[in-house]
Every structure is written in structure tokens, then in C-alpha cells.
């Protein structure tokens, strides 16, 4: 499995790219995108609701004036323009910055961090995620979280584009409705049936009917028992009892191996001219 490095690049042959095997994550957790009619329906319902309640964050004066001042500074290159943002910010304060309605704002969890916190405290009724997250792993942890709290969660493709301007924000990747929300209850009740259930193996199968063991599972069950024998009998007996009672619904996922080819264009340091025997880390 070792790749022999040579000093000169042109001597590298195709045989040198040895394939390394790497254990890949057997669980594949993906969002199920809501498409088509359901998506339009959800977006329309939300739009109507938000316009009805008139919830918006007034932030536009700041944003516009900052961008203007930046452009002005580039064009004019004056030291006097630095005083402009301060004056304009003061004016913005007079226009009541912030949300129009704080009580409604408290019923929503806007933004990934807020949604994560609310999910950990188990405060959410419904969760909507935008698909346009780049990179996608910003929202990928929400799948497991919402499954553990049994909260319906759906991924809607254009959530950010539609709803962010309504609320006066640049982008919304995650939106959650808290349990005490009064004004959004109808919308939530209408949206929840449209959302497909999330597939997270270890949370889902616990509540469903018993499923047979996979072939691999039955053969490999011997291994943990062998491991446990090393520790002691009490531990084994406890574990066996628990395993038999609770894990009748387990399906073992097939093992996934990722095969990696080391990047041929990787810039490698030229090895030192000393002999290999004297190489040190």
C-alpha cells in the first residue's frame, strides 16, 4: 500500500497510483426535496402568512447606505466620506431598526443556529430547510436532530429566494416554527401532511414493526459478543438482555468502502537527497 516517491516527476508511472481503501459512512442521510406542487403550495402559504402578519426586519437603510459609501469611497477617495455612515446610521436608528413585530418574531426560529438551539430544546413544530445551501453540510446535521426530536422537516428548493426578501433578510437557510406559535398554526397544519418522512435508520425502526435481520447482521452478531466476553460476565448479561429486547428491528447497512486514488497532481515536497535509511519524521 505504500507509494514510492521519486524525486523527478516525469518518472511517475500510472502504476504508482495505488488505490487506498477507506471506510465510508454506511449511513446515508439525505434531505428529501419537496418538489412541484407541494413546494409551490408551501411557499405560497408561507408568503401569505408572512404578508398577513406583516413581519419584516427593517434593515434596508443600513445596508444600502453602507454599500453606497463603499462605492463612494472608491470613486472619490475622500476622507470625509467616513463620516457619512455614522450620520446615516443615526438616521436609520430613528426609523426603528429591527423587526416590526417582536412577538411574532419569537414564534419563529430563523437561521441555522437558532433552529439548532430550538431543536435541542425540543421547541419546534415544523422545520423548513432551503436547498440552496452551499456547502450542503451546513444543514445536514439538522436531519439527525429533527429525527431525534420527531419533528417534521422538509427541504424546499427555493425557500431562501422567496421568503428572505419578504422578511427583509439576505438569506434564510432554515426556518422553524415554535410550539407556541398562534398565528402560524393553520399554516403549519396545512404544511405538515405534505412533508415526506425523513429516513434515519436508528430512529425510525424503533417505532415500526419488527424487520428481519439482514444476512450480514446475523453472521456478524457473534463479534460483539466475543468482544464483550473479554470484559466480564455481568456486562455481557446486561448487554445481551438489552440487545435482545430492543434491537429486534435492526437492519445492518451494507458496508461501504470508498476507494481513494491519491491525487496525482498533488504537489509533493521533493524528498531530501539523503539515503532512505536515515529518513526521520
Amino acid at each position: 500500500m505504500s507509494v514510492i516517491q521519486q524525486g523527478t516527476a516525469p518518472l511517475r508511472k500510472a502504476k504508482k497510483a495505488t488505490v487506498k481503501t477507506c471506510l465510508d459512512n454506511p449511513f446515508v442521510l439525505e434531505w428529501k426535496t419537496i418538489d412541484g406542487e407541494d413546494m409551490h403550495f408551501i411557499l405560497q402559504t408561507l408568503e401569505e402568512r408572512i404578508k398577513h402578519t406583516g413581519l419584516k426586519k427593517i434593515e434596508t437603510p443600513r445596508v444600502k447606505k453602507r454599500s453606497l459609501t463603499k462605492k463612494q469611497m472608491e470613486r472619490k477617495c475622500n476622507a470625509g466620506t467616513s463620516e457619512l455612515p455614522k450620520e446615516e446610521n443615526a438616521e436609520g436608528h430613528r426609523q426603528k431598526m429591527g423587526w416590526t413585530d417582536t412577538s411574532i418574531r419569537r414564534q419563529l426560529a430563523i437561521g441555522v443556529n437558532e433552529v439548532t438551539k430550538a431543536l435541542e430544546k425540543d421547541e419546534l413544530l415544523l422545520l423548513l430547510v432551503c436547498k440552496s445551501a452551499k456547502p450542503a453540510m451546513i444543514t445536514s446535521h439538522l436531519i439527525q436532530l429533527s429525527a431525534s426530536r420527531a419533528t417534521p422537516a422538509g427541504q424546499v428548493p427555493r425557500l431562501s429566494e422567496t421568503i428572505a426578501p419578504l422578511l427583509g433578510l439576505t438569506s434564510i437557510l432554515a426556518l422553524g416554527f415554535k410550539k407556541q406559535s398562534d398565528k402560524f398554526t393553520e399554516a403549519i397544519a396545512a404544511i405538515i401532511p405534505k412533508i415526506p418522512a425523513l429516513e434515519v435508520p436508528w430512529f425510525q425502526y424503533r417505532t415500526e414493526e419488527s424487520v428481519d435481520f439482514a444476512h450480514e447482521g446475523s453472521s456478524e452478531n457473534e463479534e460483539p459478543e466475543q468482544l464483550a466476553e473479554v470484559l466480564g460476565d455481568e456486562f455481557v448479561s446486561l448487554k445481551r438482555k438489552r440487545m435482545e429486547s430492543n434491537l429486534s428491528n435492526v437492519i445492518l447497512q451494507p458496508m461501504k468502502i470508498k476507494k481513494l486514488v491519491p491525487n496525482p497532481n498533488k504537489i509533493k515536497k521533493p524528498p531530501r537527497k539523503k539515503k532512505k535509511a536515515f529518513q526521520h519524521n
Binding site: 451546513i138 450480514e216 445492518l252 468502502i257
Partner: protein
């Protein structure tokens, strides 16, 4: 290749341990921690590579299985380049992962790089 065949059994074992830890987690986090420590020990002994997604769900210090809901807190921080800060609840160890764009390589390389 002969090397792959030899490791295949061990890789199956690692995969099984990983999945078993997930199933056992709500009942006994200590058992999940035991499974993960064995998994990491085996992988270390035979110098096997684990996928970053597998590595991240296991805490480095205490080997407990971190799920975003139970065991680990996940926050996004940073404005320009968002970082995922994963904190293990049992040992309080922070891990920061940079949410970089996925690189367009042939073999699926993970999007983030552990710091």
C-alpha cells in the same frame, strides 16, 4: 488486491461497530463509547482510513458517539467562511470544521477540512 481482501473483514467489523454504536446510543452511551473506542483502536492498529464523516461523529478525546441531537452541540460560526463548531457534551472538546466548497475531484473528497 490481496491487501484489500484482508482488510475487508476488518472494515466490515468497523462498519458494524459504528452502526451498533448508533443503535445502542439512546440506551447506553457508555456502550456506544466502548464500541467507538474499539473501532478507533482497530483502525489505528491496522492503519486503516476512516471517512471524515465517520471520524467527525466520534469524539477524539473520549470516543463517545456524537450525534447532533444527543451528545454533541453543533453551531455555525463565522461570517465569511462558516465554521461548524462541534462540541462534545461529555468531555467538552471543541472541534471546528471549515465549511468549504466541495472540491471537484473524481473520488468523493469531503467538503470540509478538520482544523
Amino acid at each position: 488486491m490481496a491487501a484489500a481482501v484482508k482488510d475487508r473483514e476488518v472494515l466490515q467489523r468497523l462498519s458494524f461497530l459504528f452502526q451498533a454504536a448508533h443503535w445502542v446510543l439512546p440506551h447506553s452511551p457508555a456502550l456506544a463509547r466502548f464500541y467507538c473506542s474499539i473501532q478507533r483502536g482497530t483502525a489505528r492498529r491496522l492503519v486503516l482510513r476512516l471517512a471524515p464523516s465517520v471520524k467527525r461523529t466520534v469524539c477524539r478525546r473520549c470516543c463517545s458517539l456524537l450525534l447532533p441531537g444527543a451528545g454533541g452541540c453543533l453551531r455555525l460560526r463565522g461570517r465569511g467562511q462558516p465554521r461548524m463548531v462541534l462540541r462534545c457534551r461529555s468531555c467538552g472538546r471543541h472541534r471546528r470544521y471549515l465549511c468549504a466548497e466541495p472540491r471537484p475531484q473524481e473520488q468523493a473528497t469531503p467538503p470540509g477540512a478538520p482544523q
